[in-house]
Symmetry: C2
């Protein structure tokens, strides 16, 4: 039987402060945990109901699996709907700063606050083979359970570096890396020369790219709007814009 | 002072059944209500705190505005954060079926259940000038407050027709309209002939396009993945995929 303390500790991982203290985070639900097992992430412990263990037995080796009952799994889970598996996972460590190479595409997030947006963006990055994402320190935490859920496994395959974003971008720019940002008055992305990749900066949900980060941008681009200004929305959602821009960068390389 | 019954009635509009009974829905928050005032929607009543009325006075005419205090607005609002304006709005009526024209692009949603996704998709449609969206009856309700919130005003500018989707699509197809659907084994959208528009069908979050709707599809397309299959996500989120496809259709027309 699971101790009350262990349940409490797993529940505490909903909060960033406790994740940082323990160096672990929680992933739950069959789809996400199976993606976890396919990934390079180090798993601390998996809690699952016996039926789940039975039907997924061939998918794990060298993993500590603790069988729990339906009541216990509900106590461990933060999901509103029934869930049969919860995993505690070590956060990966990246001791060195990422190195930026010419010809490669990267993403940078300047204050993307909504965990659902961050998760969706990680899934987009993964789809287009973007392996490194920079994030300003005021962006949502990638180990927030809602991010893990929305990323559908992509959070296990992408390196996210939280950093002083203006400083990091300026350094990359000084090393000859193009730094792209989306602005209403930017160059139409259909015509822009983007085939050499670079760092694509996406801004905050309400305020876009901050002034500080703006000054590190070398290339201002825009997504064309197919609607006259009287009936157009003010902007696209940040994850929609990321999807379109990443697709354009990938397309330009082909 | 607002009656308890009026507060209760406004709160009841969180639920589809009561929206259908009253023929109205709720929109709240400054950004959304200002978009509402710019639109053709018929407003039944706006409730706002005096400060809001004062600072937005020039934006409304012929609208019933009721001044309420901070306690009352909190009771009317379903938002977790403080809000200064709540509107009750008549749902638009579309007595006739939409007519599909060759050369025009439409969207169709086959069981898109998440209100956040639906709202984001309406914003994308609006951005690309798509004015009519079909939705299967099991899709999220467009007047769900979460849809209104995520659509950021675009819900007021787009016609959404809930219908028997396979039947409607088949009828359009029989009238010479191309019906596109996204499938893993579809034709690469970068090479597909899509410049004549048609109806773009997007599927359910977990299960994609249903078998019934599949049989009405005339053109199977695919979004290229820039990642090898071992490390690729299973799919993109439905709103990300919609953004990419709508961008490609718009791009092909230019």
């Amino acid at each position: 039987m699971l101790s009350k303390n262990r349940i409490k500790q797993i529940n505490s991982l909903q909060i960033k402060k406790y994740r940082q203290e323990s160096g672990t985070f929680v992933a739950e639900g069959t789809k996400v945990v199976l993606e976890l097992l396919r990934s390079d992430m180090r798993i601390k412990e998996i809690f699952a109901v016996p039926e789940w263990i039975l039907s997924n037995a061939e998918k794990f080796s060298n993993t500590i699996i603790t069988a729990v009952n339906a009541v216990e799994i509900r106590k461990l889970s933060a999901m509103t709907t029934a869930c049969s598996v919860v995993a505690e996972v070590y956060m990966p460590k990246h001791p060195n700063k990422p190195e930026f190479k010419k010809g490669v595409t990267y993403l940078a997030l300047d204050g993307v606050r909504d965990p659902g947006n961050l998760g969706t963006i990680l899934r987009i990055a993964n789809w287009y083979g973007i392996n490194t994402v920079l994030a300003s320190n005021d962006s949502a935490d990638m180990f927030n359970p809602k991010v893990i859920q929305a990323a559908m496994g992509s959070a296990f395959r992408i390196r996210v570096d939280y950093c002083n974003l203006p400083e990091t971008l300026l350094e990359a720019r000084n090393n000859g890396i193009d730094v792209f940002g989306t602005f209403m008055d930017g160059e139409n992305i259909y015509n822009a020369e983007i085939s050499h990749g670079g760092i694509i900066v996406m801004g905050n949900e309400g305020h876009g790219i901050s002034d500080e980060v703006s000054s590190a941008i070398s290339r201002r681009i825009a997504i064309p709007c197919g609607c006259d200004s009287a009936t157009a929305p003010e902007s696209l959602n940040v994850s929609s814009a990321t999807a379109i821009i990443c697709n354009e960068f990938y397309r330009a390389k082909k």
